[in-house]
């Protein structure tokens, strides 16, 4: 140890408390920034000091976040598939047997003039009979017929981009036309699919809320255990003048770190699912003339996941630390 005479500057080191207080008051923004920087770094060091525990917590949270993301991705792809299949949605008009070829041509011309119809193709009774004859098991039965019972048929392909309501309106119009016996809309399945997708979307939303709660609980419990194991340190900090906010801040940052890391990992898992889906979707795409592409999560969603998770982590840490620190101090 040394004697006072060896320290010409010892007075500023040991006395003059007032200038110190003035200095910290004079630079509140810098002081605030330094406090936050210190807390963020301290909490990060703390997480890194127990990598296995941190990794497990992050992995659990990431899986909880990745589940709704993955379902969202799958639903998006089913929706896309529905859109592609919807492009082949045809409406078949079966005309009354009394309709002549000229009347059918007139009707077809009228239909081609409509803005909501892409293509119109007329099938004569003979063409219908030929198609039936090609189908297995029908050829023998058709020979037994004296004459062709099939009517003229018109196949209408609605304009791409029409929604379900527009198509329904078109079908109603077609049913009301003169000479039309029966109209069959192959788009009914699409309405069912849309309804199912609606249920799926709602289920994903509910799942996302529940799993967000799970993330809150995981962070909250981790912070609770952390605070409980550091009650001695908290006591020391308070004895040397730390405010409750100062003591609490590293735990809030811990929540943010947990959220950020798990959010980033969840986004990574979702991207892996995308990659896993790419190959079968490409195969499926060939069946539909390459119209089907794998639906990837938008970049903004992938970017938002870590941020939302960080917010959840902060919230979980905030809720628990307020209560736990009151107990610890």
């Amino acid at each position: 140890m040394t004697t006072p005479s060896e320290f010409p500057n010892e007075a500023p080191v040991m006395a003059e408390a007032a200038p110190r207080v003035e200095r910290s008051r004079a630079r509140p923004v810098a002081s605030w920034r330094e406090h936050h920087g210190w807390s963020a770094a301290a909490s990060l060091r703390r997480l890194m000091s127990r990598p296995v525990g941190t990794l497990l917590t992050v992995a659990v949270m990431a899986l909880a976040l990745a589940l709704p993301l993955t379902f969202y991705l799958l639903l998006g792809n089913v929706q896309k598939l529905g859109d592609v299949l919807g492009q082949n949605q045809t409406v078949s008009m079966f005309l009354q047997p009394s309709q002549s070829g000229t009347a059918v041509d007139l009707l077809a011309t009228k239909l081609r003039e409509r803005a909501d119809i892409a293509t119109v193709s007329v099938k004569t009774p003979q063409q219908g009979m030929d198609e039936l004859a090609k189908m297995q098991g029908f050829s023998g039965a058709l020979h037994m017929l004296d004459n062709n019972p099939l009517p003229y048929a018109i196949e209408v392909l609605p304009k791409p981009g029409l929604n379900a309501d527009d198509v329904a309106r078109l079908v109603t119009d077609l049913r009301g036309m003169q000479g039309v016996d029966l109209v069959q809309d192959s788009g009914t399945w699409r309405q069912r699919l849309d309804a199912l997708l609606g249920v799926g979307n709602r289920a994903v939303l509910v799942l996302a809320v529940l799993l967000a709660l799970a993330v809150l609980l995981v962070v909250g419990n981790t912070v609770r255990v952390d605070i409980a194991s550091r009650s001695e340190e908290i006591g020391v900090l308070m004895l040397v003048g730390a405010s409750r906010a100062f003591v609490r801040r590293p735990y809030l940052y811990a929540g943010i770190w947990y959220g950020l890391f798990s959010g980033a990992l969840a986004a990574g898992v979702a991207m892996l699912v995308e990659i896993a889906l790419a190959e079968p979707v490409t195969r499926l795409s060939h069946v539909y003339d390459g119209k089907l592409q794998v639906g990837a999560l938008p970049v903004w969603v992938l970017g938002a996941v870590p941020l939302v998770a960080a917010l959840l982590g902060w919230l979980g840490a905030r809720l628990v630390s307020a209560w736990q620190l009151r107990k610890a101090s």
């Binding site: 140890m1 040394t2 004697t3 006072p4 320290f7 500057n9 010892e10 007075a11 500023p12 080191v13 040991m14 006395a15 003059e16 408390a17 200038p19 110190r20 207080v21 200095r23 910290s24 630079r27 509140p28 810098a30 002081s31 605030w32 330094e34 406090h35 210190w38 000091s49 340190e233 006591g235 020391v236 900090l237 308070m238 004895l239 040397v240 003048g241 730390a242 405010s243 409750r244 100062f246």
Partner: protein, 225 residues
């Protein structure tokens, strides 16, 4: 600096640790508080650090009544006081430097200034060479000196120590007490609770003697034999 006016402290359960205690410590003075175990020495220091509140009476520090300090004001008050404990209360997972730095971080001191002052404090207690070590690698006496460096680094106007030499050998105890005396010489008010009478006599400072929470003697420095 410090004024106790008819201060009593009764804990839950009825034990009266301090009774009608009145005394005054002038700015820049060093005083020992002594007495047998349970005399109320630690309670007195706890009241000063607002770890406990008095049941009756008034305590003032630099003219400020401690009873008027609310929960939000406690951290600010504690930043004006350096506290040294018998069990050091160091953070064992942080380096010596990080331990000493804590009050400055809390006080919002800039990093460069922090580094300068931590090193000055460590140099003062003779531990500059150990700044990167963890406290667990140091001896008990060295750990106590780290605790002292932490207590003085934020330039407190008051330094209080509760049995700071309780676990130390006599030679080391003298060194630690001499260190406190040095702080007093540069204007810091120092109040040390100790039951080590031979050591207290050797220091020749004012001695406040407690017995069952009551002041039984207040011996001026020049009267200490």
């Amino acid at each position: 600096m410090i004024r106790f006016d008819q201060v009593s402290k009764r804990y839950e359960g009825g034990h009266e640790a301090l009774s009608q205690l009145s005394f005054h410590v002038a700015p820049g003075e060093m005083a020992f508080v002594t007495g047998h175990s349970g005399a109320g020495k630690s309670t007195l220091l706890k009241l000063l650090g607002l770890i406990e509140r008095p049941s009756h009476g008034l305590i003032t520090l630099d003219g400020q009544s401690l009873s008027k300090v609310g929960r939000g004001g406690i951290p600010k008050l504690r930043r004006r006081i350096g506290m040294v404990f018998q069990d050091h209360r160091l953070l064992m997972d942080r380096t010596v430097f990080a331990n000493v730095e804590l009050p400055l971080v809390i006080g919002g001191i800039a990093p460069v200034e922090r580094g300068r002052r931590v090193r000055a404090a460590l140099e003062k207690v003779g531990l500059l060479a150990y700044e990167r070590q963890l406290p667990a690698t140091l001896s008990t006496g060295e750990q106590q000196r780290v605790g002292i460096a932490r207590a003085i680094v934020a330039k407190p106007t008051l330094l209080i120590a509760d049995e700071p030499t309780g676990n130390l050998d006599p030679q080391l105890a003298v060194e630690i007490m001499s260190l406190f005396a040095e702080f007093q010489q540069v204007g810091t008010t120092v109040l040390v609770a100790s039951h080590d009478l031979p050591l207290i006599k050797r220091m020749r400072k004012r001695v406040v003697v407690l017995d069952h929470g009551r002041l039984v003697a207040d011996v001026a420095a020049q009267e200490v034999l």
